[in-house]
Amino acid sequence: MKYAYYPGCSLNATGKEYDLSTKAVAKKIGMELQEIPDWNCCGASAAHLTNPDLALALPARNLSLAEGLGLDIAVPCAACFSRMKATVKAVRDDKKVLEKVNEIIGMEYHAENDVYNMLDIMANKVPAEEITAKVVKPLTGLKVACYYGCLLVRPPKTTQFDNPENPQSMEKVLRLTGATPIDWSFKTECCGASFAVAKQDVALEMIRRILENAKLNGAEAIATACPLCMLNLDMRQKAINAKYKTDYHFPVYYFTELLGCAMGVSPKEMGMEKHFAPVIPKMEEVWQRTQVAGREDQ
């Protein structure tokens, strides 16, 4: 299995662990990821709120570069994924748009390759046995809230991935590690990442509601597939606790970090000490619990 890999700006910076853990897991299951040469930013929501042509042209340049490699594209970041899929759909739906985009980027893009998010690949392209075969340190019983956010699953005609109200891909993948995903209602609620900087009071309230629902449903950890959601949920717990006099201390993981941990990749190797709310102690606790339970069984 080989894909063109588009890390995007976040995975080079605040989302470094997502990059490291994705690559570590890919290596374990023998998946090849070839980084798109000289990729550029996808424009995120700023571009499509400002200039619709720009919002298509920025991803199109990357898509075209990947097409040159003759590969489908694997995208970990949910926001980049959504921009790329929107571009693919726009140019496939209307030849004129494709011509216009090609003129802007000054390249020949044909929209022949497909774009998949990393979660889709792990849940639906990689056979489950290939993952379970690699699980050596199971995360037995970890009560995890799988958080998708908005862009991975919406709108479904664009993302062509899972169910927009109650997706199950992350649950499916994480169950393979022995974890126990919980049922909860906020898995596709928006975290407000697009104005976490410019309109922080609003974003904090949106994040608080997500954390509260995870807590009410008994989660001990949150898993995500998006570096922007991660930054919001992880880094801003402190600000939320200060503002609302709450007491949230969720470890927030990339789903790839959990996969990696279960496959015996060391948390350090994936940069997991870089999170704001510590995430390694929970892993150790889970492994300890498994050992104790194992001894009691004997």
């Binding site: 550029n40 424009g43 000054g106 104005f195």
Partner: protein, 187 residues
């Protein structure tokens, strides 16, 4: 009870026409069920709920809509669109209203506007988004000098934000792309 004049001519009609064309939304498709507002995660902060914004446009009350914070607060999360029984592309409509307001220099959420502009400047310059510059310039231009500064040492220490930006090698290519879209926009 508030009195409004229906069936206005001229400017209002034109704006409504533009909004519908730009967004691909037919305003008369909305039967005001309110599902969009019920699910909107930002509704609590909006001065007009999504349903109300559409209602005002149906009634050609363009001024109130252009002045509203709502389109600026919309996070484009697509929840409303996915749930709307009439598949009305509300996020596209929000986007169109925002662009229309901006063209008239009505910017009710200045910080959000500044952030987006800076973000794109960043990408135009470096081909990639550079978080240190983005945060720094944002804090300087808006006067929110210390926002998130508490988080910066940890981010920097963990090599998550850098002082030197990542730069795309083909910088002129990306700049050219920006230039081209601006030309297209002007046409």
């Amino acid at each position: 009870m508030r009195q409004i004049t229906l069936g206005k001519e001229g400017v209002e009609k034109n704006i409504i026409q533009t909004l519908q064309e730009k967004s691909g939304v037919r305003l008369s498709d909305c039967y005001q069920c309110g599902k969009c507002s019920a699910g909107c995660p930002v509704a609590f902060a909006m001065d007009l709920k999504p349903r109300q914004l559409i209602r005002l446009l149906q009634l050609e009350q363009v001024d109130e809509v252009l002045k509203s914070k709502t389109p600026w607060l919309c996070a484009t999360c697509q929840c409303c669109f996915v749930r709307c029984p009439n598949e009305i592309k509300i996020p596209n409509l929000m986007e169109a209203v925002r662009q229309e307001a901006k063209a008239r220099h009505i910017i009710p959420e200045k910080d959000i506007d500044k952030f987006n502009n800076l973000f794109l400047k960043n990408v135009e310059q470096f081909g990639r988004s550079h978080e240190t510059f983005l945060m720094g310039f944002y804090n300087l231009t808006t006067g929110h000098l210390f926002q998130d500064v508490g988080c910066a040492p940890k981010l920097y220490f963990n090599k998550k934000i850098r002082i030197r930006p990542h730069v795309v090698k083909n910088k002129s290519g990306v700049k050219r792309l920006f230039q081209k879209t601006i030309e297209k926009g002007a046409k």
